[in-house]
Symmetry: D2
Subunit: 321 residues, 4 copies
């Protein structure tokens, strides 16, 4: 019998993320006009963004900065007790930073960092989003009205960090935060070049892939879920028409079988649009799938060769990129 | 702060179901040729069936019987400890029957019943499915090869029982088994006519709706998930071509927003094909959505009036039906 | 050997239509915000509308009027000679009215009427649409940029008139204009209750169905094509969210197998959104499909019963409707 | 005013094709099990194949041969007079071979060749397909029952020849057979490297692209239409699962905007699965779209670089390939 992770289910899901952009106005336009997200307030120079089925106050905090990249990644705990338990574990591991007020709409947040230097915040209190009259949904089991313009991403789906030491970072998610490791890339030398982890029944919520340039604290991409593969084809049509840069796709990943499209927002951050079909990881004793170098060399699921920039482009960009 | 259900996450997911049919051969043909499921062994007069992404030995046990209906519904516990905790709670509530050997591929199973008389089995041990050479999937993160013939349902999705007392039955799922109640139909007199509950991040795994004929122990329908709404339109095309009876749909439910098609298998059991898009219930403090009589009177999401048989047809059929 | 219709191919396709609405501002909002069409100029109290892949100046002329309904239906001839040939035939049949200047973007137009009193215009000269900088498409084989907001109908698809004498009206399309009759509803008494005719390889461009109220000159609906059935499901989602009245659908017609959604624009005219998949009528000797009363009683393709208003609602509305 | 092509509409559509394969049994398996076509009789060593909505006797004649490649391409005339007119024009141009009996289900056929040596047959008489009891469609406006297994291609869509002199070959289609030239690749030196022509309202039925290896009489690919882009994604899933070689795609062409997947059948012939959405060429005065070298260098519509084999692989294969 496999033992259940004692931290399992203490983190409920990925919450909200801070994103930096050197092209603020264009980035806002990308998130609203192209992706079809809505702004929900602002603070200082930052603007808050949300997808139509995100139930919390916001999921993206967009802030102008000289270089692109990811700021703090917030995770929502399952309840107050779970929050306290995870904070204790993090403190014990020596990764804690301390408590801070949450962003607007969010309660007390405990800050910490992974071994790679990415900053995280853990919180429980969250003010549910209340739509205004003009964005009230027709069906009351939905957070906000379906916008009908742009890609209309449904919700924030996952974050994919670059990390110098994938295993050390993964261990934090698994051992301190209760994540399940669903799939990995294991190189011929036995080292782990990529690790997909989940807090939910989705195949993955947080991913580390190896930073081939050896730079710490970078972002590979963040991803938003659409309801169907057809939505992603339409997103490609829209990208072409709206002059959004398509890096690769639409195509299907072998890992996790996600149907994907990768674009760059004007600030340079890579954004994925993804659809998993009805695929869920339901097994409580799921066995981590290991992908070998030989298997990875086959390319994506239907044979598309992985584009070179996928191995090098991250934010902040490497010096000289 | 809401208190988390102490039983939360002890049940991992809906496992496998027993279904009875008075038209055995035709029912097998329906599940294999129309739905695109595969048989996986047999025992006595029963045959075991599985969808291509079900990871366990089987999800449907189909058995010939003079009348259609549902037999035992099995739920998988998260681990051995969780299994023991739930068994204790069930015993304490006086609903326990006792231990039995599991079906082929499954370990010791604790039997109990709900107040309506539907039988359940709770288990943890499960033998993961191993594909034969000719059904080995191209991608190793998938249980079995995509069959490519028929509807190709991905996995068993949920069960919808009829119950004389919806609230009493719901309480067992919630209080003894740790389910979350996500949506309900609450009549003008305050009584609950339908209750949707979940053990996972899906909107629902097990549902009770009121048996208007006042009969106990009946089934409204079982449901299989497809990857897209397009798959369900194709399922309707196939039903037309293969002479499968379509009761209603394709259309979209207001409750849970599921895109659906309802057909009857040849034995008379109602089968739903469903797709939820990327919709998930991620909030640990999800607040139950209550639908009123007035809201229900509007019909399905896009205005389709609910067909009369939806309120009366169940299996076993009522005397005279 | 079947003889080819001597008028075949003289009419190239359905061109542009005049539509009347008693709720002008709301109707404009419907066509632009909901359907995703664009305005292209105006004249007097009328506004011109076009879908993104319509290659001509406009396809809908929307005009305020006390009652809803259809004005003139324009057909484009294949060339000048074809235009002259058809005008001669119409004159000979005593249905001609005379020449007039075309609407903006269109050349000389010959006016005539069908036996039911619907007015038609036949023209050849047409000024191809030239997009402005901000609606220039990314691909130059497309008329205008894909708008990305609303349903995004691709092009005007067909018109369905109500007629007191379906056969007399159909004969004009077939014998004077060269249409092919692809499918019909033939009642038990041998009379034709519906006739689907085409000038192209589409299954139908112009349809007459019997006006059960015996009123002349009415419209049953006009239709716009979308690229997929998924687009029509999305159109239903948008209708729900934008409070557009859905009469029936989405579902699939048995006749012509079109996937459909019927909505009413705010002025009361019925609008269909339709998708035919890859279905085309390519056979030069296509044999008209006759549907019997018994076959029609089965409802739509997947069994949906035809809604009562489908048999009575037309524009202008009947007195008292 | 543009003058209409005097031969316009004399050819109704692409009819049936002969295909050669050095791996006959595997190729039959590909067409039936993967594509979901059905066999319809045989003659000598050849087998006849048809898609479920092809209305004629068959559309592919598959014959074992030491090398892959295309045999005769048949076009159906609009009627007997049109057939005679085209035969006269072909004779006059010195490309005629003579009359022969048609294949089973087809009447007298006039043989000729294009300047590149590809053989053609022109016919009018055609025996409409009559389904057997077990493949009778549920809807009588459809040729045969939707098979429900494999890709389920709807109909033969187009043929793409390789030609040493694209212009000379195109001129035959346009001037002798009445095709409309809808799009072309025009190199910087003014020569035409690709020409898309149509007999119908589809964007193209017959295409010539330059044979970069300078070999005559080769095939680039034949294509089958599916009802949706979703069907093509599913075709890619099936190809992966059934070990069918995917050359490139799914992706969208800039030229004609077709959504595509290219696979090789086991004999080596390239097969395209294509969907055009609702796109049609309706304008009688359509102006040929010319694509420049610079525009082609951008790759496919969404940026996929054209795979090298697309420029070299044809059947029969070049010596040494």
């Amino acid at each position: 019998m496999l033992n259940r992770n004692p931290a399992a289910h203490d983190v409920a899901h990925l919450g909200h993320l801070q994103l930096f952009t050197p092209a603020f106005d264009e980035s806002v336009e990308f998130f609203t006009h192209y992706l079809g997200m809505r702004t929900h307030g602002s603070q200082g120079s930052s603007v808050f963004l949300r997808a139509w089925d995100d139930y919390e106050h916001h999921t993206i905090t967009l802030t102008p900065r000289t270089t692109a990249g990811i700021g703090r990644t917030h995770l929502r705990a399952a309840d107050e007790d779970a929050l306290q338990r995870r904070v204790e574990a993090i403190k014990e591991a020596g990764l804690g930073i301390g408590w801070t007020d949450g962003e607007p709409g969010y309660g007390p947040t405990y800050l910490f960092h992974d071994p790679d230097g990415h900053e995280f915040g853990l919180y429980y209190e969250s003010e549910w989003f209340q739509p205004e009259e003009d964005t009230r949904p027709a069906l009351k089991n939905q957070a906000e009205a379906y916008p009908g313009a742009g890609v209309c991403v449904r919700r924030l789906d996952h974050v994919n960090f670059l990390g110098v030491d994938v295993e050390a970072n993964r261990d934090v998610l698994r051992d301190l935060l209760g994540a399940k490791v669903t799939e990995q890339i294991v190189l011929d030398d036995g080292s782990v070049a990529g690790s997909w982890t989940t807090f939910t029944n989705k195949g993955y919520d947080a991913v580390y892939t190896r930073d081939r340039l050896g730079i710490t604290g970078r972002l590979h991409h963040i991803a938003f879920a659409t309801d169907s593969r057809a939505d992603i084809l339409r997103a490609a049509d829209l990208a072409l028409e709206q002059d959004v840069f398509i890096e690769t796709g639409p195509h299907k990943h072998a890992i996790q079988q996600t149907f994907f499209l990768y674009v760059y927002e004007p600030g340079g951050n890579r954004i994925e649009l993804c659809n998993a079909g009805a695929r869920l990881v339901l097994a409580p004793d799921w066995r981590t799938i290991d992908w070998t170098e030989a298997e990875r060399a086959k390319g994506q699921a239907w044979g598309l060769k992985t584009i070179e920039s996928f191995h090098t482009h991250g934010t902040p960009p490497a010096p000289g990129q």
